[in-house]
């Protein structure tokens, strides 16, 4: 009864003074909203990214000249390094026992034409014929580029679903030609639709033999080497062997670090985690400031409420309320106020997460824990900042409180 009554008093006073209520609650609302929105977006991305990165496979690694750079300096250093070549690929293929499949790929963005239809900024990828054994790329129609075609630098292409769909809306694209970089390529296969990943369209590509790529687009481009080891156990061994082979070929002195980078799924996962932990830190910063401000406002309102209801405290004490009864009453009221803010914050945070995922490629998922967290945080704010006013009320002298007008 006491409990219910305190909740009702809190809700009534919030309802009767709307502007004051909004001002009272805004801090808590912003704080909780930030937590929910950021946590939801990150949770959505977590699922998505780990899903995507896991398709790379735990037995695969990528070697490239640059690696993951965090600063301009690193970038310029990396740019001074020698390029990786197809000869390097060949050397690894021959000398690395733990490497099961060794492939390579290069990229460029080009316009892709068919008659008067064209698509701009299509990802043109020159790859070894075995690439599909390393990174998944399923065939919808036709086939992948063959080793024979690679060896003979044939102008053939395996195209993404969207390229086929846009350039050949009502036709079977197999056997037809597209123009890339001024050359005609015969389509031998179409990939399965993959959708987009973090806003990047994955169906908008043309894959051609790496040898043809070098012939048409020149050698002054970065080459990625992709290696698949037989199993998890040989993964480390494969990396070590590939590293040794490359260091030898590139004449890296013993005391110098690699002039190339080896990246695994873990590397990407790590990178992603770094990013999300930054996002979490920002969230914690913004929400703590908002919550402290919100808490102080609640404390202020509660102090006003205690003063306005001094007489009430006196009456309650006269008829037998103990300190803890009064304390509880005001604490419940403060927590109720904070929880109302928390609930509004949860709703708004959820709405923001939904809006973000609807209007941007970022996915989102409102998780139960973040909702529970929002409720916990807001009630803690209520308790923390409500305790002082509640104690003040509980300590009022009954005679003076009764006399108060």
């Amino acid at each position: 009864m006491q409990f219910l009554e305190s909740i009702l008093i809190a809700l009534t006073s919030l309802k009767t003074n709307k502007l004051r209520s909004i001002l009272t609650l805004i801090g808590v609302i912003i704080g909780v909203m930030t937590v929910i929105a950021v946590a939801s977006i990150i949770a959505g991305m977590n699922r998505y990214v780990s899903d995507k990165i896991s398709t790379m496979g735990s037995t695969t690694f990528i070697i490239d000249r640059v690696g993951i750079v965090m600063s301009d300096e690193e970038w310029w250093d990396a740019m001074k390094r020698k390029r990786l070549t197809l000869e390097d690929v060949e050397a690894i293929r021959e000398n690395c026992q733990a490497c099961e499949v060794v492939g390579a790929r290069m990229f460029t963005l080009r316009k892709v034409k068919h008659k008067n239809q064209y698509l701009s900024d299509v990802l043109v990828m020159g790859g070894t014929a075995n690439l599909h054994e390393i990174s998944s790329m399923n065939v919808e129609h036709g086939r992948h580029v063959s080793e024979f075609e690679e060896l003979h630098r044939r102008q053939v292409a395996f195209v993404g679903w969207e390229v086929a769909d846009k350039l050949f809306p009502n036709l079977d694209p197999i056997g037809r030609e597209v123009k890339v970089g001024g050359r005609d390529f015969k389509i031998v296969g179409v990939a399965e639709k993959k959708g987009s990943f973090l806003g990047q369209n994955q169906d908008n590509f043309v894959s051609i033999p790496v040898t043809t790529f070098l012939k048409v687009f020149g050698t002054r481009r970065n080459l990625d080497i992709l290696v698949k080891s037989a199993d998890l156990e040989s993964m480390r061994e494969a990396q070590d062997q590939a590293r040794t082979i490359l260091r030898l070929r590139r004449k890296v002195p013993q005391n110098k670090p690699d002039d190339f980078a080896i990246m695994t799924a873990d590397t990407f996962m790590q990178l992603y985690r770094n990013f999300t932990s930054t996002a979490y830190l920002v969230m914690i910063g913004v929400s703590s400031i908002a919550l402290v401000v919100g808490g102080i406002v609640i404390m202020n309102i509660m102090l006003v409420s205690v003063t306005q209801r001094t007489k009430e405290v006196g009456i309650r004490k006269a008829v037998g309320a103990k300190k803890r009864h009064i304390m509880w009453q005001f604490l419940v009221e403060a927590v109720t106020v904070a929880l109302v803010g928390g609930i509004i914050g949860i709703l708004m945070g959820t709405a923001i997460a939904k809006i973000v995922s609807a209007t941007t490629p970022l996915p989102s998922a409102v998780e139960l824990w973040s909702v529970v967290m929002g409720l916990l945080i807001s009630s803690s704010v209520g308790i923390f900042f409500g305790i002082f006013p509640a104690m003040k009320a509980a300590r009022l002298n009954p005679i003076e409180a009764l006399r108060y007008e």
Binding site: I315, V319, A321, K322
Partner: protein, 227 residues
Amino acid sequence: MLIQTEDLWKIYEVGAEKVNAVRGISLEVKKGEYLAIMGPSGSGKSTLMNLIGCLDTPSSGKYYLNGRLVSELTEDELAFIRNKEIGFVFQTFNLLPRASALHNVELPLIYNGTEPEERKRRARAALKMVDLEDRMTHKPNELSGGQRQRVALARALANNPSLILADEPTGNLDTATGAEIMALLGRLHEQGNTLLIVTHELDVARYANRIIHIRDGKIEREEKFDK
């Protein structure tokens, strides 16, 4: 003996000055008595009432209520005693403005943990005793002054206290309504309740069986009436 005080003193410190509000009052009240404490303002009668009502503790002296020494209890223990033993009636009614008459009467029962069903039943019974059973859902501002004071009386009665302590119960009422309240108090006395009224009006004090006159924090004289 319901009330027994021995050489009760209350000293307030106002700044550097010490004010002796109650100066050595020894007083005895039997169960079932109807007593009035009279005195002009500043006589110390309010302070005495606060002491007897367990709202305050004396600076020195002893106070036994219902056989229990209450002059040295802590604040929460006093709250317990007030809840169990004393029903207050104030000049300004002191009802919770936002709560219904019924809820106001329930208030003392809330703090001793009476079950909601039982609480409602007893609050209704108390309101019936003051002839307000048809006003239970009304809030104080929907009631007349006399009705408000009757709600306060019902609240005082709700917990079956040993003592009903009324501080100027007619002070905010017109003469006719005041007389009604005094009649009601008389009825409660006849039903066996112990009443202590603090007032400065002789007309009000006359309803009692015994009047104690206070002046300058001391008992000046005592009057007894046989009725």
